[in-house]
Every structure is written in C-alpha cells, then in structure tokens.
Symmetry: C2
DNA sequence: GTGAAAGCGCTAACAG
DNA sequence: CTGTTAGCGCTTTCAC
C-alpha cells in the first residue's frame, strides 16, 4: 500500500541501493540519476520507513518522555519546551505518564527502552530511591531528570532547598512569624522534602520554630476539618502558608474563602512553581517560580549533548558539565502575600 | 549490547522460532521448554524489540497525537485522557505540536505517517480547508479529530454553535443587551467561527444586534487601546463579554482590572472551555464547559473502534456511529457573570 | 557511479 | 512440539 524503496527503485529504473544513496548521500550519485530518483520519490509520494533504518542499527531519532501527569501545567510547560527543540531537530517524542506511581514509572521506562529510544527525559517521584535509574546508569539509554532534585544523577531543576528558603525568608521579611508549610500527595517526593528542609532552615535561621508539614488532600472540594483546625486555631494561628506547589495554593485559597477567611488579610499564601495562571488570579498568587519551559529546554539540550557525546567518543566522560544543573528560581511577588505589622512576641498570645 | 531473540535462543538451547512462540503463543510450546525459555529471558533481561515485529508487518501499537500547543490546558487535558486509555491498552503515543500552523500540521502528519502509526488523533486549525485530511481519508492511517467541529470528518467535540448560543442566551437572561464577542488568534479556526455564529444567532433571536467579533492579542500584558476603546465607549459600552476561550477571558479580566474596571460589576465575562483553573479564580469564571478529558477519551475509543473495525472487516463501513460525535457541553455558572437591572431601551442612551 | 547481497530482530508458513 | 527458512524496509560493504 504505502510505497517502499523497492517501488521507487522499480519506477526510477535503478536498484534500491542507488535509491538509498540518493536519499542519504546525494552527492555520491550521478546528478541525472539523482533527478530521476527524486522524481520517482515525488510521484510515488514515498517516505522512507524509519523502522527499516532503525532496525539496521541506525539511530531511532525517538526520545521518550515520562511525566507524572499533564494535569499539572508545570509538566505541560516542560513538555512544551522539550517538544519545541526536539521537533526542530528532527526528533520524535514518545510520551508516557505515571500518576506519581513508582510501578508505572518502571513500566514506562521498560516500554520506552524496548522501543529503543535514544534517550529519556523524565520526572520521577523520588530519584534517590529508584533502583531502575541505577539500571539506566549501567546500560540503559541516556537520560536526564527534570525537577528531581538530586546531585547523584543527571538532572535539571531549581535548587529547591534554596528556593524554599528564599521564599520563606520573604514571608519572614514581611513580618510573618507563624508560618506553616502545606504539602500535597507529593509529600513522598524528593523535591517536596527539600522544600520542607528549606522552609525549616529559614525558620530556624530566623529564630523561629518550624512546624511539621501539613498534608492536604489535593482533590477535595473543601479543606478537611483537621486542616482547618490547624489554620484557625486561635492565638497560635499561622499568618502565612507556604504551599509546596501552586495548584495546592489555589485549592487552599478557595478552601479558605469558603470559610470566610480573606487572603491576604487573614492569611498570606505563597506558592511554588510560578504557574502563569497564578498571575491571572486575584489577588495574584505570590510564588517561587521555576522556569518550567526553560527546564524542559535545558533537559533536552543536556540529553542531546550526552547522546552526541556518547556517539563522538565512548572514552571521554564529559566531566566539564556537572551532573546536576541548577537553574535560577525567581521570587514572584503577588498580592496573596501581605505585610503584617509585627507585634512583640509577648503580646502575641493575648491577641485573641 | 541489548540481548536479541537469538541470544535468548542460544542461552536456552532452542531455536529463535521456539523463543518467539514462547513469547507470543505460550500454550503451543512444551511447558518444560517454556520454562527454560522464560528463565533465559529473565536472566538476560530480554525485551522483544517492537521494531522487528513492526517491520514484519505487525501492528506498531503506536498512535500519533497532534495538538496545537500544550500551553493551553484544554489540550493538555485531552492528552491526559487519551494517554490514560492508550497506555492501559498497550499503545504508545507519539506527540507533536503545531502552534496552530498549517504547515507544521502537514509536517507532523507526514512524520507520523512515516513512522507507521496505526492511527492519528489530532486537532487542526481548520478541518474543512485542509487538503491533507482528504489524503488521510484516501490512504492515510485512520484518524479522529478533536475539537474540530465539522460534520464531514470523524471528530469528537461539543456542538460549538449551540454551546455558544446557550451561553449567550444565559447572558441575555441575566439582563445583558450589549454583548460583545472577543476572539484570540483563533479567529481563523473552525470552532471560533462556529462560536461566533452561535453568538450571532442568540443575539438575533433575542432581537438584538450582534456586533462583529473583536480580535484580542493573546500574549499582551495589557489590553490594546483599540480594544479598550471598544469596551469603554460611553453609552454603547457593552455590559458583557463572551470570550472565545477561557485563557482569553482570564487575560481580559486582568486587562480590565488594570484600567480599574471591576468584574462583574462593570462588566460580565463568560469564557469557553471550562478550564478547571477557572473555578479557582475569584470571582470564579463563568464558562461554557467542554469535557476535555472526556473528549480525549472518546477520541481514543473512536479511533480504536475504527482500527479494530478495519482489522475485522475491510468491507463493512460502520455506518452505525455517526462521523461526528457531539459531546454535551455544560454551562458553568460563575461570579464573573452578574445580573443586570434591565432598563428600558429608551433610557439606555442617556445613562452616561 | 551503480548493483548484488547480507543482515538488523522478529514472525509466520512449512516441514519434520 | 520444534526447527528451518523467507522476508518485512532499509543501509552498507563489496564487486563491477
């Protein structure tokens, strides 16, 4: 049905070898022959079947992308960045999502490997405790992690610890003392952990007591009573919340609104991710921004470097570039964070 | 490097044919043999190379997905829906984006075809005037359109005309008379056109004059002066805006806020898409909802039906299911649309 | 400058 | 039940 190289050869009156050369090394064939072959290709509307090439041991020009979900714009933005560069460079993307499930992560990696992808760009729940990544290091295709914050593996992300630290310091600079950190189902993820450590460090450095992170159900319409209790508990009530990501922050804002708490008057909110949509909220969401699109692009570039590097020389480890690439984060100010008049600690207890 | 079926055969002490059978038809080989082969597969960590299978004329189990962009959650949500079903059924997705560019659409289709995808799920700018789709009808892989609203081709979407009609009627029911439709760069798209027609029809049926659609630059930080002029032009000032999609609506709301116009007091806003994030805004965005996730799922199911159908019988056209599948839209109420006290038409002119 | 032929990994007759 | 063999579409020696 779809024409093959044989059809072209027959039509043009040459051998398949010549057709192949006409396609892949045009300057090694007689110009007249070339013209005739090209005409044949044109009229038959022939497209070389990559499968044949690939099988022959060539590069597949396909890279795999594994993401937790596309419902979170963070990952959609990354993917957008990857896709722009990849398609410009003649690569195809094979996509799989995992819903943060370690088993699905493994399955995705296996599947993509079997498809002989040349490389893998992925975000896993926890990069440090993932045996399958060790396998990849050994004999799998080259890979680059996105967002996973680990020094041990090739990765691109922001410095989550520092980013969280900076964000919480900003809250403190605004006069907040009782600051709580909220985390979603990501609690088990490497980046959530580091963000919590950043929070704790910032609190500690300011002579404040970090509180344990509070887990919040992401999908609930309203905030759970247990959570609300924490947020409205009289004198010890927090004045600011640091949310481990923007989606969570938005859910929390809605939840607070339902119980007639005003943001930022009653509670300041700081998110993490810098989702574009956050700026469209009102009040605009203050957030620690990570350059998602840029992370996608950088991950692509790193992967390609490594692929080309491997191709060029199996000897030289390119120790020039560090394993873990840290992109700068930004502090996006927004009206969800308000300054608070600082009251002497002594009077705090008596406020309510 | 990666083991092949030959390695397994050698290791297990059988022929490659037996290994192949052990994998694809385990019940046709001696249990003892099977066990030995499986052991070999296990220890060598062998994964059959799909490329070999595919080349042999088998199904590739890969389908292509072509979307305008992933920056718009509408498409990310669709993709999420597709991916969930596809991966559950053992299919892989090859993804390409087009940025609404017809040339890139063609290129994506060509590329994916050359990869011998079994089917294509895609959203194009304009489904009616796209010659490449005719080619697909003739001899391409099976395909299903998403969001493209055309009766002539296999497609899944909401009834854009009716959806817009319903939305605008709702605005009218809230007392609005001077209603403007805003469209983004999508003005050239089939669905934007139909949405405008729905708007115009609703206006007409209510004895009101539809205004020509107003084009708005999507990416601008602020609304263009020409647009603002339209929105604030004295007595004839519209009281409600129907935006051709939610992202646009959110940009417009921000633009209005910058010039101190309050939504919904000074202006009601109705979007289109029903993005989840719209509900998190405040005021919550009223929107005509299309079930994006569901559209993705439905598109997948339709594609698979068609693939299986073709496989089962090349004779029977399954005329049972209509070409164009219309999913029900919803009208999501939100605080961005407020009722307006209706004033007699005579006094309207003198209000300002 | 061109063609013949081998082989990539796999499946599917066809024999035994 | 198992092995032999041809061939999917293509690239790549090796001859001519």
């Amino acid at each position: 049905m779809t024409p093959t190289i044989k059809d072209v050869a027959a039509y043009a009156g040459f051998s398949i070898a010549t057709v192949s050369r006409a396609i892949n090394a045009p300057d090694t064939v007689n110009p007249l022959t070339l013209a005739r072959v090209r005409e044949a290709i044109e009229t038959l509307n022939f497209r070389p079947n990559p499968l044949g090439r690939q099988l022959r041991g060539e590069r597949t020009r396909v890279v795999g992308v594994i993401l937790p979900t596309l419902s979170n714009p963070v990952f959609a933005e990354c993917l957008q960045g990857i896709d722009e560069l990849a398609s410009a460079q003649g690569y195809r993307l094979m996509l799989m999502t995992t819903q943060y499930d370690a088993q699905r992560e493994r399955h995705a990696i296996d599947t993509l490997r079997s498809h002989r992808v040349e490389g893998l760009i992925l975000t896993v729940a926890d990069a440090d405790t993932h045996p399958v990544l060790d396998e990849l290091d050994r004999d799998g295709p080259l890979y680059v992690l996105m967002h996973n914050d680990t020094k041990r593996r090739p990765s691109v992300c922001v410095d989550n610890h520092r980013a969280a630290y900076d964000g919480v310091r900003m809250l403190i600079a605004h006069g907040h003392r009782r600051i709580l950190m909220l985390a979603g189902t990501l609690a088990a993820s490497d980046r959530a952990r580091l963000r919590y450590q950043g929070y704790a460090q910032a609190m500690h450095d300011a002579g404040l007591d970090p509180a344990p992170p509070l887990e919040v159900d992401f999908n609930a319409e309203e905030l759970a009573p247990s959570v609300l209790a924490h947020l409205t508990s009289g004198a010890a009530r927090p004045t600011a919340l640091f949310c481990s990501n923007d989606l969570l922050a938005m859910v929390v804002i809605r939840g607070l609104r339902r119980v007639r708490l005003n943001v930022p008057r009653d509670m300041s909110i700081l998110g993490f991710d810098g989702l574009a949509v956050g700026e469209l909220l009102s009040p605009a969401l203050a957030s620690i921004g990570s350059p998602n699109h840029g992370i996608g692009c950088a991950a692509w570039r790193r992967l390609l470097e490594r692929i080309d590097g491997r191709r060029a020389s199996s000897i030289a480890g390119d120790e020039a570039t560090p394993l873990a690439l840290r992109l700068p984060h930004t502090l996006r100010h927004g009206a969800t964070v308000a300054a608070i008049a600082h009251e002497p600690a002594a009077t705090l207890a008596s406020v309510r």
